[in-house]
Amino acid sequence: MDQDSSAYDSLAVRPLPKWLTDQRDGLTKIQPATIEMKEDRSLAISFIFTGAIIILAIALLTVIILRKKKKNST
């Protein structure tokens, strides 16, 4: 290891062994993948979609009923 392989002016400035600093800093562990939170729009989309279906169904039924009524009156 390069950081350990040369002589130093004094013992005080001589670095600790790399295995020791890695262990201390947690660098010998596999770092877990960072999970990033993304904006979740699925609920809004679901509401919009459901609302649109309901409106469409009401409109369709209204048209059908009105036509039926018109037909009956004639």
């Binding site: 290891m1 350990d4 392989s5 040369s6 002589a7 130093y8 013992l11 001589r14 600790l16 062994p17 790399k18 295995w19 020791l20 262990q23 201390r24 660098l27 010998t28 562990k29 596999i30 993948a33």
Partner: protein, 257 residues
């Protein structure tokens, strides 16, 4: 789906501890002993070399002769990779190069399932040596792994273990110039970690050494194993199951990754 994939990856991760994984899977790196000569090798030297070759063959070392034009007297040089560890002018200096009583004891401790052997290299300065030893004993006394760690003391001036001392002092280039007590963690197939020395021998650093050896062996460690393999004659087949596993099974709170 992402969680499932992550769980699958984690389940495949290695849970073998560093000390055990290195003992079972990491063969010791080879040394090279070179006999440098100029001209012809005489009969006496040839016989001597044959005898040396036979003696060191079971160890992690290769022996060969190389002709070198610019030398007066032949000599032997010990290399670890491309690092020159020591030069020997007399073949008698090679006696006990690959084996010694303390190295046998350390290997035997490792083979019985011990986590590591802390080899304390003393300087002869009583005050410094005793201070370091007190810290080691305090650190181990507080450790749940104290019963599976052996401490051995080795004097820097030991004649019987002079080769072992020399090998330890070559773990890093500047150790020979530092007159401080040193603590080497020896594990696996006689791998010596870069030592804690002088004021670096602290309870916290000893705890970190134990943490390193008891952690799961991640690919990050496997790909870049620290330490230097010490020259030694031993068969590393069929070691006893690592005792660390029993301690961790009984105390899951000690598990760390």
């Amino acid at each position: 789906m992402r969680i499932l994939i992550l769980a699958a990856i984690l389940s495949l991760a290695c849970t073998t501890k560093v000390s055990e994984w290195v003992l079972l899977n990491a063969p010791a790196n080879q040394y090279t002993l070179i006999y440098f000569y100029n001209g012809q090798i005489n009969e006496t030297a040839r016989n001597q070399n044959a005898s040396i070759g036979r003696e060191i063959k079971p160890a992690n070392i290769e022996f060969r002769s190389v002709e070198k034009k610019d030398i007066g007297q032949p000599f032997y040089a010990l290399y670890y990779g491309n690092r020159l560890f020591r030069r020997y002018n007399d073949p008698k200096d090679l006696i006990g190069l690959t084996v010694s009583p303390l190295r046998k004891k350390i290997a035997s401790e490792i083979m019985t399932g011990k986590l590591c052997v802390l080899t304390y290299l003393t300087t002869g300065n009583k005050e410094k040596d005793e201070k370091g030893m007190q810290i080691i004993q305090k650190a181990l006394g507080d450790s749940p792994f104290k019963n599976i760690i052996t401490v051995v003391e080795l004097s820097r001036s030991s004649v019987e273990e002079s080769h072992f001392v020399s090998l330890l002092l070559n773990v890093e280039d500047d150790l020979k110039t530092i007159p401080e007590p040193m603590l080497f963690g020896v594990f696996g197939r006689f791998k010596a970690l870069e030592p804690l020395l002088g004021k670096g021998i602290t309870e916290e650093n000893i705890r970190l050494m134990i943490d390193f050896l008891t952690a799961d062996c991640s690919c990050l460690i496997k790909d870049n194993l620290p330490g230097t393999d010490i020259l030694f004659t031993n068969s590393w087949d069929n070691p006893t199951i690592a005792l660390v596993n029993k301690i961790l099974d009984e105390n899951p709170s000690l598990l760390h990754h």
